[in-house]
Symmetry: C2
Subunit: 379 residues, 2 copies
Amino acid sequence: MEQGLEGVIAATTRLSSVDGQGGKLILAGYAVEDLAPSASFEEVAYLLLMGQLPNSTELEAFTRRLSALRELPDIAIEVLKQAARREVPPMDALRMAVPLLSLTTNGDPLDLALSAIAAFPTIVGAYARLLKGLSPVAPEQSLTHAAHYLHQLTGEVPSPEQAWGLETYLNTVCDHGLNASTFAARVIISTGSDVISAITGAVGALKGPLHGGAPGPALDMVFDIGEPDRAEPYLRDKLARGERLMGFGHRVYRVRDPRADVLGQAASRFYSSSSDRKLYDLARTVETTALKLLQERKPDRRLDTNVEFYTALLLHGLGIPKDFFTPTFAVGRVLGWSAHCIEQIQNGRLIRPQSEYVGATDLHYKDNCARDETNSVSL
Amino acid sequence: MEQGLEGVIAATTRLSSVDGQGGKLILAGYAVEDLAPSASFEEVAYLLLMGQLPNSTELEAFTRRLSALRELPDIAIEVLKQAARREVPPMDALRMAVPLLSLTTNGDPLDLALSAIAAFPTIVGAYARLLKGLSPVAPEQSLTHAAHYLHQLTGEVPSPEQAWGLETYLNTVCDHGLNASTFAARVIISTGSDVISAITGAVGALKGPLHGGAPGPALDMVFDIGEPDRAEPYLRDKLARGERLMGFGHRVYRVRDPRADVLGQAASRFYSSSSDRKLYDLARTVETTALKLLQERKPDRRLDTNVEFYTALLLHGLGIPKDFFTPTFAVGRVLGWSAHCIEQIQNGRLIRPQSEYVGATDLHYKDNCARDETNSVSL
């Protein structure tokens, strides 16, 4: 009862396999550490949507098709402007703009999915600029998907290292089993509804703080520590006060989260060519110290650095503001939502569990009216 | 596997109890046939949101609070205009406008719920007018909720009979266990997201044709038959061709759906004061004939007139166009979605089932690149 369907199997999927005991994440047949740092986002999108990696001809056609869908309907920009004027949180702004995509898109589920995948970077990038008082920039079709997002955010064409760093991140987080937002998308599409409706619902679910994927606080601690030699006293204090160290441990993975490895290596490679090496070194010191102290306190429990820690480090290095970490996660995860929708359309059926009624069953409307009349008289 | 969670209990609730075997629907303690035709929508809303019927003082304050929230943000009207220009289906237009409510509303979950409940009639009514090339009318605070909706649709203050007919309908459909849209709302809110996000997701799920609640086709048949003496040959033909009779039978109720009784009586009462008595008599002839023929064919299986049949009859009598039947259902059901959100916030936890991975696990990215290079050479 009320167990949140933990352990209940609600769908079969060919999209991703999350093995928390073994520390493995498979994306449509490929280990995340094999696929994410090497493939382009477009290849991964093709893989998840079509079931296998594309050959070069297929990839070229797919890339062209996807990049042609970056433009937003004018009214979506207008909505984002109004949202920015009221400083609406970015995830709410995204949830306002996404449903408008069906103004300019129709077609089969794949068309709708590609529209959403292509437009998410435009929406999020435009909104980040509007919040800073800047104008959105026109989408540039010639850029790769990852570069397109950074261009939308900054107005600049990113360096290859920046585009690669973001692409690795998007590939790494594009799908992760039946998390709450993906499940929401599958429930919605299971009624025979459309992909934009399902993705809109998923955005709403991802917004919730219990969803996971919001890597903000992990880096706050690093900034708060500020200097490598403050790491140990700071962390000892925190643990002594019984506080949790953000960035360590995961609900599902009992051993090392493979995404943490991929993103840790991506951060290392990215910062090696970046001017902000100092932050990276600080973060690594904080990490080493935190793991040492956690090990001291609970020698029998292995707590590893989690995906949030490296995500925060990498996204910060790419110049993405902290309140845009979750929308950036959405830019990656919209691929998984889309692929799950298409899979659910192909082989699923209506998802319709039951509730158990625990209330009264024998009340009568007229009794209440009588009660009220008695009350009125006695007043 | 892939069974759509049928029979799995995903939540406990005090809001409604659907007993398909016994033919009973309880709304927060009251049998639907006791509550729906007698209580006002405002009373039912208070009951579901607050857990008990209001006394007169509570009802007055609640009614004032709800009716003050009918106005839409300007940009929502602008979005509906753009949608109407493109003849977007009404449920998509609703799903575009609802998320914009968080532009003008914040506050606790109850505030957001009341904003949505109050604004649904404004959105749906405005969109129905815009689709016909008419301007939306300003919401009138002094009207009851049911009258407000009809006023938004037609621009006229409805008769007491019309308002009562719609109110009975809204009360009857306001909640019905853990249907797919309500479940979508609970999944979304279970992440700690907000009520507007959850309701937006639910609108998307309700749109799907497998959801149920779309009573259009039932009345098509009645119109198609046209004259009482054509009913029997028409229906015999249809059954002989192996076609289903829309408006009879229900997935859940094995005996008579209690909502069908309530709405059948409401239709009878409504049409007795209406000029369109002829349609009502025709519909009743079609019903009697259909039940007789179904009984002849399958004497051992009891197939009753379902809620869609009377819904279509009643809503048609109220002047609601067929493509606005599902949005009108949403005007009622948004109450249940809201109440389930508040209940989920109070006593639920993250809803996060599992998927079973059935794909490959041993693919390697480099193998694919090699395959492609081989392909390229051989071309």
